[in-house]
Every structure is written in structure tokens, then in C-alpha cells.
């Protein structure tokens, strides 16, 4: 790390690691994760959420270790350094495909929410195109703009968490949470796996760390960010378990949105509409980070201009979004992306850590010999 880069105005304060973690982890999953976890571990679902959160902390620790080993270069560069140009490039492409599927999954699911709640008649393609215009515009400003936009968006949405007070008032925790640990260990683990799909996204530190001032300081911020996200998920899960009854939670595809259905003010009948529209800010921030990672990846692998890379991805995403026509097609894709998320957020960083360790060990041995 040379001095010129530290002083560069395009670098961000390491605190932004937290912001990036918030927006990548809390996206569409936050609106609908309860059902999938509850299905596995029933009223002990909150334990599953905690277990998944602890696993995420451990994996994040490994990610940070790997980054430190490679002087906070991004994952695409790490791939090249571990596997060489060709195989490393292939790995990067796979990662880009994964982020692509995540971005399609998030945008299409959000459009589904818009379809169900507000604009039943507007075609998905129109929404996608609108989103892409915003994204393209913000992307041209680079990661710094994305970081600040994300921070502002988070602050605009964050206050909604206070409204959880209303469902909390009606929650019957004593009846719903006890007895603790009724689900077996296996169920808890299956629940954690389901939760993993929602929690995925913390590996964003792989890609943004090299744009931070003093990147060695990101560890604390990253772990802290993850902790906040985990706490939020646990709280929402606890509220949902207390507020809904057993089969009610399983019946509800949008658990968090329905929590807000009881919030009612004299001047505002239904608050979840406000939540949905505010959630747009979170989705935009999330997609911005996604698209930035993808364009960055394509730039690194093929050395193409970011602008063209971005346009290519967007055209592909637009086609994918338009191909997904019905709710059940979307459900199939969502399940698939959920599995990919567990694989790429949890398993892959561990794999990279081990391989990096071995490669380093072999190389230093080779040098000594």
C-alpha cells in the first residue's frame, strides 16, 4: 500500500464496510425469510438465525484473514494470484455469474412485491429498465458515490425498525417461544442452512476492501456490521414468532411486510406501502453494489471498459427478468439462488482460505528449497 493511494480522493473511510454489509445482506431476504427458517426449526427458528449468524462471523473472520494474506487485493486478483491467469479468470467468471443470479433474484423479487402490492399491471420489463437507469447513473460515479448513496438510503429506511414496536406489543412470547430447544439439533441446522441463504452477501468485503483507506482497519467494522445485521434478523424473527401463530407464519410469503399490516395511523392507513416504497432505496443500493462488483470483475478478467461491461450485464439481466413471468418460476429460481448463496457466501471463502494457505505454504517451501 503506497502513500499515493491512501491520499487518493476515490478511497473510502473503512466505516463504509459496514454500510456495504448492511445493503448487501438486508435486501429482499429481510422481507420474507421467516417462513423458510420456521419450516425447519419451528419455534426455535430464532436459534437457527443465531447459529447461522455465528457461522457467518466465523467465515467473515476467514475472509479477512485471506484478505490480509493478499494485502487487501480484491477476490478477482486473489484468484489470479492463487490459480494463475486462466484458471483464476474462470473462477472469477463463476463468481460473476453468481452475483448476476443474485442481482436478478433481488430485482425480480422486489418487482414481484410491487406487482402484488401496488402496481399490478406494470410489466416487469418497465420496472427493470427504470432501475437500470438509476443504477447506470450512479455506477458512473464509482464506489465512492455508491457508498454514500447507500449510507443515505440506509438512514432513510432505518427508522422503520422502530415501528416493530406495534407488532411487539401484540406478541405472545411466553406462549410461542417456550419450550426452548424443542427442535432437534438436525432441525436447527437445517434452519440455519435456510437462514444462510438470506444472510449471504457479507463476502462483499472481498471486493470493496482495496478501496478503503487503511484497509487493515476494516476487520472491526466488518464484524460490527455483520453483528448489527444478525441482531436485526434475530429481532425480526423473534417478533414474527411471537406475533404469528404456527401455521400463520408458514402461510405467509412476506412475513416482514405483513408485520407492518397492523401499523395504522389516523393519517396513514397502511404503512407497509410506505415500507415497500422505502425498500426501493435499499434495493437500489444493493443492486448498485452488485453491479459494481460484476463490472469490476469483468474489467479485471477481460480488461474491458466498465461502461460496456455494465451494459452487457444489464441487457442480460433485463432478458432474465422478463423471462421470469410467474410467481412459481420465480420461486424455483429463488430456491436455486438461495442454495448458491450458501455455497458462495459460506463454503467458498473457507475453500479459498484453505487453498491460499496451502499455496502459500508450498510456495515458501519451494523458495527455501
Amino acid at each position: 500500500m503506497n502513500n499515493k493511494e491512501v491520499d487518493s480522493p476515490t478511497l473510502l473511510h473503512p466505516m463504509f464496510t459496514m454500510v456495504f454489509m448492511f445493503v448487501t445482506q438486508i435486501s429482499i431476504g429481510m422481507l420474507a425469510f421467516q417462513k423458510y427458517v420456521y419450516r425447519e426449526s419451528e419455534h426455535d427458528a430464532w436459534i437457527s438465525v443465531i447459529v447461522a449468524g455465528l457461522c457467518a462471523h466465523a467465515v467473515l473472520f476467514l475472509i479477512l484473514k485471506t484478505l490480509k494474506r493478499y494485502q487487501y487485493q480484491d477476490l478477482f486478483q486473489i484468484h489470479v494470484r492463487i490459480f494463475g491467469k486462466w484458471f483464476g479468470g474462470a473462477c472469477s467468471l463463476i463468481i460473476i455469474c453468481y452475483w448476476f443470479s443474485v442481482s436478478v433474484y433481488i430485482l425480480r423479487n422486489y418487482i414481484e412485491v410491487l406487482h402484488i402490492w401496488i402496481f399490478a399491471e406494470v410489466p416487469a420489463g418497465v420496472f427493470t429498465a427504470l432501475f437500470f437507469m438509476l443504477i447506470m447513473y450512479a455506477l458512473s460515479g464509482g464506489l465512492r458515490v455508491i457508498g454514500i448513496v447507500s449510507l443515505v438510503n440506509l438512514m432513510l429506511v432505518g427508522w422503520m425498525a422502530a415501528l416493530l414496536y406495534l407488532p411487539i406489543r401484540q406478541a405472545e412470547w411466553k406462549l410461542q417461544l417456550l419450550p426452548i430447544m424443542e427442535a432437534g439439533m438436525g432441525d436447527i441446522m437445517m434452519g440455519s442452512l435456510a437462514m444462510g441463504a438470506t444472510l449471504g452477501g457479507f463476502e462483499v468485503v472481498y471486493y470493496v476492501s482495496h478501496r478503503m483507506k487503511q484497509p487493515h482497519r476494516i476487520s472491526t467494522y466488518a464484524q460490527l456490521g455483520l453483528l448489527f445485521v444478525n441482531l436485526l434478523y434475530v429481532i425480526v424473527m423473534l417478533v414474527s414468532i411471537g406475533y404469528y401463530s404456527e401455521d400463520q407464519i408458514l402461510n405467509n410469503s412476506w412475513g416482514t411486510l405483513s408485520l407492518f399490516k397492523i401499523v395504522q395511523f389516523a393519517f396513514l392507513e397502511r404503512l407497509e406501502f410506505v415500507l415497500i416504497m422505502l425498500w426501493l432505496l435499499i434495493i437500489v443500493a444493493n443492486l448498485l453494489v452488485n453491479y459494481w462488483i460484476m463490472t469490476q470483475g469483468l474489467h479485471r478478467v477481460f480488461n474491458v471498459k466498465r461502461k460496456y461491461a455494465c451494459i452487457v450485464i444489464m441487457v442480460m439481466a433485463l432478458i432474465c427478468n422478463m423471462l421470469l413471468k410467474t410467481g412459481d418460476q420465480l420461486a424455483v429460481v429463488s430456491v436455486l439462488v438461495g442454495k448458491l448463496a450458501v455455497l458462495f457466501s459460506f463454503a467458498y471463502p473457507i475453500f479459498i482460505f484453505i487453498v491460499a494457505y496451502i499455496v502459500d505454504y508450498v510456495r515458501t517451501k519451494g523458495k527455501e528449497a
Binding site: 402496481f119 447513473y137 405472545e172 401463530s245 400463520q248 402461510n251 399490516k261
Partner: protein, 382 residues
Amino acid sequence: MHINNREKKRVYFVPYILLIFLVVTGCAEAKIIDKLGILVAVGYDLADEDSNDRIRTTVLSYKPGATSTNTVPTSASNNTSKGVREKLSLRTSAKLVIGQMRVAAYGEPLARGGIITLTDTFQRDSEIGTSVYLVVAKDSAEQLLNAKNRQRAGTGDYLYDLLKKNIESGIVPSPTLHHFLNAYYRSGKDPILPYLEVQGDEILISKLALMKDDRMIGSLNLTESFSVKAMMGSNHFLTHEIELNTERLRKYYEPTFDKLYVTLSHVMTKTRIKVIDKNTPEFQVQIRLKGEMEEVSDLINLEEAEVIHALEREAEKTLKSEFEDVMRKLQKKQVDPVGFGSHYRSSVRVQDFTAEKWREMFKEARFVFDVKVTFVNVGITS
């Protein structure tokens, strides 16, 4: 200079984006408030037997454009509650929107057959909030929504206010869509809904409808309703009248009538339910009732604390026997609106706890009531 050019380019981009947003707004469905018929209440009944349709739906909507609270009922029959919109729209000039719906009424014959499919559509519908009140109407919901009330308020608003008041400080447990579904989807609890009647030019809540799953199977009178609501947790009642046994109180006053009644106001109840025997099962129900004593039906000198305590003990005995009576009735019918099953499930580790299993256990369950009544004060005079 280079950066400046880039910045400029980006700024030029902005108006184009804004222009597109302007054009795209046309894609969304416009809802102009003057042209909407806003639904306030919906009623469902069984359709006539000779027709092919299954459900008769009555909607109560505000007259479009009118500033008064007047609402107009419209009815039509169809096979599904939402499919009927097609037929209703042939009868109304306004576009009916359901987002402001407050009350959903089900005719008793329909309610006895089960209403879950009709409530499920509410839950499925993103336009409807979960604080809609569900009620059972005597005879038919159409009749209820067509009824005039003495206050001459719009029927929809009147129903809503009537229910809301009695939920907050009366004997009606919350019958919102959320609470109904919450109880329905819970293995150890049954829903309970208010039962509305039209008597002459008056709409009133006459009793509570006991629901077994989603079917109405009986009802609770006012005393029983009080007992059930008191058992359902911390509640607030405006007033409650308790009959006292005169025999044991004879030494404190000279009875002029055969019976003695006290009326409490601002009644607060606190209830704790504990499982004390897992096998029977046996429950201990601890009820603490506090209230201001506002009226005694006979002349009693209340200067002595001893007298007040004696009245309190008698009130406890009466309440206890009322609680026991209502539990016997509920056990006979095998419905559990209080949710003892939930208490059982949360304190005993039972594998595959199901509603059917609980109904069998509930029939055999025993309840020990520990009632404590406190008269916070006896008013200004003593």
C-alpha cells in the same frame, strides 16, 4: 478539465431519465378518489338454494362524491367472494375498492358451515389490512348491512365504532382478521367472534359466537363472555355487575331484597395460567380483578373495612363459580377460545401436538381457579 467533461455528461443524462419517469407513470392504474366506491363493510351469506351460486355478497360503500356518511348496500351472488366483483360492478357506477374495509360480516348459516376460505382471501389480498373486524350476523349479513340504526349514522361506521368500543372496554375479545387467523392456525386455540343482531331499528352485539376451527358451533351469553374475556389475559372493562350471595352477608346489613348486586366500574383484570399437572392436564388460573365499587343494590354501611372485605370474598365466590360454569360449557363443546392448549404446549414438551389431540385432552382437563377481587374504592360516600 477531463473530470469536468465527465461531470457535464452525467448532468445531461438527468433530464432524459426524468422524462422517462414522467412517461412511465401512465403505466400504473389510476385510482381517482371521486370515482371510487370505497367499501366499508362486506357481508357474506349462503346463496338461495335454488340458484347455482354459492355465496351471496353484500358490500357497503360510500356514495361516490357525496360528502355525507351515507353508505349504500349492493348485493350479488356468485361462487367465490372475489369473483362476485364482476357482478357487483354491473350494479355500481363507481369502481369498488376494498382497502378501507373495516367490518366483514358472515351470516350465521354460512358461519356454521365454515368461513376459512372467505377469510383466507382477505389474507391473500394485499389491499386489505389485518385489522378488519370479523363478525357473525344473526340470520343474514345482508340484513345486518341493510339495517338502519337509531343513531342514523352510516351503517359501516356505526358497526365499526360499536365493535371498537366494546373491544377496548367491553366483553368482546379482539375479532380482527389477524387474531382470527392467529387462533385458527394455532393448534391450541379457537377463534371467537362477536355475534350481531338486528332488533327493530337497533343493531347490537347480543353474544359471542364460539368457533370450532372456522365453524360456529355455539354461543356465549354476556356473563360467560365476560368470564372468557377475563381469562384471556390482561383486560379492561368499563363496568361489570356481580351477584352476591345474601346468606353469608346477613350479619352486615338488613336485606330488603332477596338478591344483592354490586357493580364495579373501571374493572382491570390480570390473568396468569399455569399448568400444574401435565397428565390430567390440570391448570391453575389465577385471576386478579380490581375495580371501583360504584353501586350496591341494597343499603349497606361500607364504613368498616371488614364489610368491604366480606363483599369482596362473596364476589370472588360468584366469579369463581361463573368461571367454572363457562369452562364446563366449553369443555362439553370441546372449544378452547382462551387458548389453554397453547399454554399446555408451551410448558410441556409434547411431540406432535395437534388440534385433534388437544380437543380430546381438553375434554378431560381440570381447572383450578384462584380469584381475587379488590375494590379499589367505594366511591365518594361510604
